[in-house]
Symmetry: C2
């Protein structure tokens, strides 16, 4: 079976991306312990990878310069914002160059384990504030792989796959349901609490998606 590296955060989107990838690939998941407030996503990622029958590795990295409310407890995580506002600006939860760094490690891993593909669960419909989630960014990062690796310059390059790119959270949830993604174990909340706060941008998008489909969030049963 062909191999893929999957960037798995422990949230809904990357879990769905993994369940799409595993239909065709032997999956090697990478999760980053990068000093984020919401460390609960690390346990979520481990559980999801195990349930999906995928290999999994957590890499510890650091952002000593911080620069994000996900890293710096002195900056408040925004709460209770409307979706229109969220989409209009880059929020304080933006972590400078995070996806650039994650994709760089995925590239290194893919080159060594001879994976054909890197899966990332990014999408533009929601969270459009993050510059490193936009289609233009992925296009140029693909060129970095093509030009900056041995695999890319030798023969067929490693390809970035972004299966959810054009979807919104509701559609992603629908796809995930069909694939039996264990959403009860995914973690979305940006805050570091024991239970999801229900009011950060990430909780709000998640809530909205479940409400639109008229189903109850299975993660909420665990409270």
């Amino acid at each position: 079976m062909k191999k893929a590296v999957v960037l798995l955060s422990g949230g809904m989107d990357s879990a769905v991306a993994l369940y799409i990838a595993r239909k065709k690939y032997d999956c090697f998941c990478l999760t980053f312990d990068y000093g984020q407030r919401h460390k609960s996503e690390l346990d979520a990622a481990a559980k999801i990878a195990r349930l999906a029958g995928a290999k999994h590795r957590v890499l510890k990295i650091s952002f000593p310069w911080k620069g994000s409310s996900l890293l710096d407890k002195k900056i408040k995580v925004p709460i209770g914002r409307s979706v229109d506002i969220i989409k209009k600006q880059v929020p304080s939860t933006y972590v400078p160059a995070r996806n650039i760094i994650f994709l760089s490690f995925a590239t290194s891993c893919a080159e060594v384990i001879k994976a054909e593909t890197i899966f990332i669960g990014a999408h533009t419909q929601d969270y459009s504030g993050y510059p490193d989630c936009r289609p233009d960014f992925f296009k140029v990062f693909q060129k970095v792989i093509d030009k900056g690796t041995k695999t890319g310059t030798d023969k067929k390059s490693i390809k970035i796959e972004i299966p959810l790119l054009k979807y919104n959270k509701e559609k992603i949830l629908k796809i995930g349901q069909k694939l039996k993604v264990p959403f009860e174990f995914t973690w979305s909340c940006y805050k570091g609490g024991k239970n999801p706060c229900g009011s950060c941008d990430s909780c709000l998008f998640r809530k909205k998606a479940f409400e639109k489909l008229g189903i109850k969030d299975p993660a909420s049963f665990k409270k």
Copy 2:
């Protein structure tokens, strides 16, 4: 004074890049402890940054998948090769996506500390085997910064500067001499020994440069 992030390995090239950068910028150096055999370069980098009056941070990262003779002690570091051979192929000392990862962290740091520039001491004249040292690679990585960061999409992007790109080791040595780079503290050898081995690709290029200029390597006085 404007700020620059400088990728400082502890070798000759990045030391010269730092001494070029510090003429115009307040420099913030980044060095990576990535499991390399030649950990001596970490001490070298710290010393050089201090002498240059630059800030310095060592980031610990890992490549659990290895894939390079610099990381995997089971793979031998090539020795005694001719320069023509070295230039013809990607050597086993290539670390998959290393410069992609280093530049990614530099991008994150630069964005947060509001640096205008990232300096990297890469050059193509020697070591042309490494795909992530080629001009084409830097061109596309520049686009990643332009498209994938808040700074890049908001206003003026962070610029990668590669001041030594077109030079060979001899020319780099000459420039460094003029700038009074403390070459006696730089570390080039790929092997993990107490003293440089004198026969790995990196030692050979260094030796050749000093020989061509007819001067003795000051690092050799320390033995």
